[in-house]
């Protein structure tokens, strides 16, 4: 068991900061179409906020995202990406051709939605992986 870093200052700072981190991550993900950002950045930010809480408040505070769950998240996230690509095959498009997905919009918008879908997958995948790697490297048992 590692020593807790928890001091009043750190705890308070985390309480104040982490919600903004999370919000910012979601913003980066959703707003990737309009400004710098996207799945990777969002995923890393999410992972960072979870790891921050984890580091400061102790091993048991992981918000349910321990190493094993993180693997599953990573695998599901990345699969969402590939899965959306495969979905396009069923509507007659090529792999990753989001334009053909039946979302009832004109093509550029459908493509934008598809992009959002895969970015979400990337976010989950990157988040999961970073949590896994970080936990492994810091030697934390689940």
């Amino acid at each position: 068991m590692r020593e807790r870093y928890g001091t009043t200052i750190l705890d308070t700072a985390i309480r104040l900061l982490v919600p903004f981190y999370l919000l910012y991550a979601v913003y980066v993900l959703v707003h990737g179409h309009y400004s710098p950002g996207g799945g990777f950045q969002a995923g890393v930010t999410l992972a960072a906020s979870i790891l921050l809480v984890n580091m400061v408040q102790g091993d048991e505070v992981t918000w349910g995202v321990n190493k094993q769950t993180a693997v599953i998240l990573a695998s599901i996230g990345t699969f969402i990406y590939a899965g959306i690509g495969i979905l396009a095959l069923f509507w007659g498009g090529n792999f990753l051709d989001y334009g053909v997905l039946p979302l009832g919009e004109i093509e550029p918008k459908v493509r934008a939605l598809g992009t959002l879908g895969i970015e979400t997958g990337v976010t989950l995948g990157v988040m999961g992986t970073f949590i896994v790697i970080f936990n492994l490297l810091t030697g934390r048992e689940e």
């Binding site: 309009y34 400004s35 710098p36 990777f40 790697i133 492994l136 490297l137």
Partner: protein, 123 residues
């Protein structure tokens, strides 16, 4: 003369950075430092690509609100940026795997100096 050089000086600096990285891999005996040198190489290459994407007087490749679509020279080339996002991620992933291996090596051999590790390993 100066203007002639100005267009290329970035490449020279990048080449030097790259060779610093290569030298680091060859010359240091600490495995962790070698891994860091590897990252220097990857940074040099990223800079090389980004340099290719630059255009005089251009801005970030995000469509300006209300701007006319299709003024090619108003925006930087987005392709190198995309490629380098990928390259950065690849670099990070490789570093992660490398660190994991180093972790294991350090636990087993108690050292990250290459000669020590090899000596121990060949026994």
């Amino acid at each position: 003369m100066l203007t002639a050089v100005a267009g290329y000086i970035n490449f020279w600096l990048i080449a030097i950075l790259l060779l610093v990285g290569v030298y680091g891999i060859i010359a240091t005996e600490n495995l962790l430092k070698k891994l860091m040198a590897l990252n220097v190489i990857s940074v040099a290459i990223i800079l090389f690509y980004l340099n290719l994407g630059q255009k005089a007087g251009s801005t970030v490749p995000i469509l300006l609100p209300g701007a006319e679509v299709g003024v090619v020279n108003a925006y930087a080339n987005p392709l190198p940026h995309t490629l380098m996002l990928t390259a950065i991620v690849v670099g990070v992933a490789t570093t992660g795997v490398g660190l994991a291996m180093l972790y294991k090596i350090y636990h087993r051999y108690g050292s990250l100096e290459e000669p020590d590790v090899l000596k121990e390993m060949r026994q």
